[in-house]
């Protein structure tokens, strides 16, 4: 699988590292060079500095050949914009988009994206934990 990961934060770096170790072809895109320090030393994929909302930048890193695009920057709107670009303009078949705001996440999902909200997901997990017996005393 040919994967483009936009945003090399903790989550982006982790996913990129795992997919790379599994043998997938991974390109990580981030606006700052320093972000790549989060990638594991074993990472063999490509690292590109640039803005994922910019068409020419996406083309340069080979978005047209990507099977999957993951939008994982800190900005919900940026993630949405880049995801729609990958989907509508470059016809990437799988586009996954992180959206912190749960309300926007639902709307974006209805607008055709595969979305994930760490806020609602995290809240559910925490509530689940609270309702169960503590694991450790």
């Amino acid at each position: 699988m040919n994967v483009v990961v936009m945003g090399c934060g903790r989550l982006g770096a982790r996913i990129a590292g795992i997919l790379d170790a599994e043998g997938h072809s991974v390109t990580v895109l981030d606006s700052t060079e320093g972000a790549f320090r989060r990638l594991p030393d074993s990472f063999r994929g490509k690292k590109a500095v640039g803005n994922g909302m910019d068409g020419p930048t996406l083309e340069k890193i080979g978005i047209a050949e990507a099977d999957c695009f993951l939008a994982l920057t800190q900005g919900d709107n940026r993630n949405y914009f880049a995801s729609q670009m990958a989907r509508e303009v470059y016809h990437v078949s799988r586009v996954l988009c992180r959206v912190y705001d749960p309300i926007r996440e639902e709307i974006f999902r209805d607008l055709g994206l595969e979305t994930f909200s760490p806020t609602s997901f995290g809240a559910n997990i925490l509530l689940d934990m609270l309702r169960k017996e503590p694991v450790r005393k």
Binding site: G55, G75, N77, Y80, F81, D101, I103, R104
Partner: protein, 224 residues
């Protein structure tokens, strides 16, 4: 019309001012409190403090009953989100300011009318829809042809001339003339045009501005 203007910067402020002058109901949404206060003072209200990318802000602005939203912030990603959420909430027309012209294709694909920079350009787009306007798009034909209705004003440079004397852009054709009494006529080369006539014209999309200038004359901001 109820028009929501997302973004109270220079473009949003002047756009709102013009629209209020045209007696529309207008609400500007601005997320920066200092700027919102400034705009509130200048526009005597008509401002809401909030982030227009949030659905809850748009809902509080009564987005569901808006006829049009103009997303004119300085960030293209915000403008896309604002337009897409608004349409999801049922707003029939969405217009976005595009700061980076390269992004135009994406907005097009999302079905959002776009305009690159400048207040005047946003205004021109909205005015196309108003009945008082002199050029009204009727139908988009394939091959880039468009059918428009043009009402000749008193100041029209072609009033009093015959159809033959009017030099139209290439592939443009006056196909019907409706006189002020509402009587339609098929024009011939000898048909004389008068102020108040409504012309139905076929033209290429890219020739519309030239066509407007030739039949209506220069209007504010459009002759730049």
């Amino acid at each position: 019309m109820y028009i929501v203007v997302a973004g109270g910067g220079k473009v949003g402020f002047h756009l709102a001012e013009e629209l209020l002058g045209q007696h529309h109901e207008v609400l500007v949404i601005e997320r920066e409190s200092g700027r919102a206060a400034q705009v509130r003072e200048e526009l005597q209200g008509n401002v809401m403090l909030g982030d227009s990318c949030e659905a809850s802000t748009l809902d509080a602005a009564g987005i569901a009953r808006a006829d049009l939203i103009a997303a004119v912030t300085g960030d293209d990603e915000d403008n896309l989100v604002i337009c897409d959420i608004s349409r999801y909430r049922g707003v029939p027309r969405t217009i976005a300011r595009i700061n980076n012209p390269k992004n135009e294709l994406l907005f097009q694909k999302r079905g959002i009318e776009t305009t690159i920079s400048a207040t005047q350009a946003v205004l021109a787009q909205i005015e196309q829809e108003l009945p008082t306007q002199m050029m009204i798009p009727l139908l988009q034909l394939h091959n880039g042809l468009e059918l428009v209705e043009i009402k000749l004003p008193e100041t029209s440079p072609v009033a009093g001339r015959s159809v033959r004397e009017v030099l139209l852009p290439a592939e443009s054709l006056i196909s019907l003339i409706v006189d002020p009494g509402g009587v339609p006529r098929m024009p011939s080369g000898d048909t004389r045009l008068s102020a108040g006539d409504a012309l139905v014209v076929v033209s290429r999309k890219e020739s519309l501005e030239v066509l407007r200038e030739q039949l209506i004359g220069s209007t504010h901001g459009l002759d730049t």
